[in-house]
Amino acid sequence: MDSVFSILPRNIGDQLRVLPEAVQDCMEEIRVRIARPLEIMAGGEPHFLPYVVTYEDSDQLLNALSQFSLYTIEEELRRGYVTIEGGHRVGLAGKVVLENSSVKAIRDISSFNIRIARQKIGAAERLVPLLFDGSWKHTLLIGAPQTGKTTLLRDIARIVSSGMDSKGIGSRKVGIVDERSEIAGCVRGIPQLELGPRVDILDSCPKAEGMMMLIRSMSPDVLVVDEIGRKEDTEAVLEAANAGIKLIITTHGNSLEEIRKRPIIQRILDEHIFERFVEVTRGAAPGTISTVRDASGKELRLGTGAAYV
């Protein structure tokens, strides 16, 4: 949390510091909008604080994000978010500047959404016996936004790279294509989140290209990619799966049934690459695993291992 406080303007920081510890601990988002009250999302519920954000606050926040130098976050302004130390992400909205009808940058930024990254170490431990059987299985994690698939994916990557002595699983080389800097939360190329010792990350690299680059250059055993769903991704997934590399991938959707209807995903499914499907739903807490299926769609029973969260 200190890294978040260090970028917040003093007025806003003071508002947050007086919040009860319980709220601070489950804070998910801090939303800063000019001339509107400060909003925080904690435990899935919105809370409004009695403080109206001023223009100066947003200026100071932007200065802190860019270290007084907008040109250093040029690329980030084009993508619409900045990753800060600690792996937290700050989403930006304002007036968009176009060049050749593609987004060039965001100017006059009026909304900031500070998403607090909380790594849940051990989130995927319960899954491991189902995903590992002599070697890791090609796995597809399915979940709607905000269900915690990325949290699970990150923990799987951590387990793969560090191995699990208790279950006799050795460590493997992991390649991560982190297009949106979400899995590893890299700042200047260095992951801010715990991912184990054997991880190579291509930060903010387009997925399709990045997968091929990693295969050629870093010879990973397991390739971890977030949010497959574009046309060119299909090619890369098929290519990688047949290159002797295990894939662990997430995609948006509620269930296996549902994603079968997405034309792009359908093509991948038709190739029968994946050996495990994990459906993630937002139950009591984000990251609740509802069902694990094998290649034929048959449900597998989750072990009653260590309870997670």
């Binding site: 003093r10 200065n63 860019s66 270290q67 007084f68 907008l70 040109y71 250093t72």
Partner: protein, 171 residues
């Protein structure tokens, strides 16, 4: 005896002030030149290094001689706290060191103008601003060199000769 000592003092004083004034004429083009090269270095830091302003000006302050280095040190230290803006930090540091520089008001305006744009744009526009400021400074430098060649020697001899004149009158 006293007359000789007094005369020597007068001569020393006027000659010294003549040299002092002339120094301003030599210093100005020199500082302008340093300023220009510091802006060029800043351009490289921005364009190719993507270096944030604070780190870039710390680097510059190490490369430059005094008093210009003091300006960049002040600028960098002012940006440590988040509650200022680049423009304020730049102008304030400029005011702090201005007395020790031999530059003129027109150069001050150019630099303040430049400070307004710093850190507020993407790399391309930042580079354009730097190039624009460089052309302004170049013009000033040319003028400063012109004045140097015209007046430097003259002021020096003027100091000495006016001292001589004073002695002759007083004797």
């Amino acid at each position: 005896m006293f007359k000789v000592i007094g005369a020597a003092f007068i001569l020393l004083a006027t000659t010294w002030s003549g040299f002092e004034i002339a120094r301003g004429f030599t210093e100005r083009p020199r500082q302008l030149r340093q300023l220009k090269s510091s802006l060029q270095a800043l351009e490289a830091e921005i364009m190719y290094g993507h270096t944030p302003l604070r780190d870039a000006s710390l680097k510059l302050s190490k490369q430059l001689p005094q008093p210009l280095s003091l300006f960049f040190t002040a600028f960098a230290s002012k940006m440590e706290n988040n509650e200022t803006t680049v423009r304020d930090a730049w102008t304030e540091s400029l005011q702090e060191v201005w007395k020790s520089l031999s530059l003129k008001q027109s150069e001050y305006e150019i630099l303040v103008q430049f400070g307004e744009t710093l850190g507020r744009h993407d790399r391309m526009s930042q580079q354009k601003q730097i190039i624009l400021t460089l052309t302004h400074l170049e013009r000033e430098e040319k003028e400063a060199l012109d004045r140097q060649s015209k007046y430097e020697k003259m002021i020096k001899s003027l100091g000495f000769l006016s001292g001589l004149l004073l002695i002759i009158i007083l004797l």
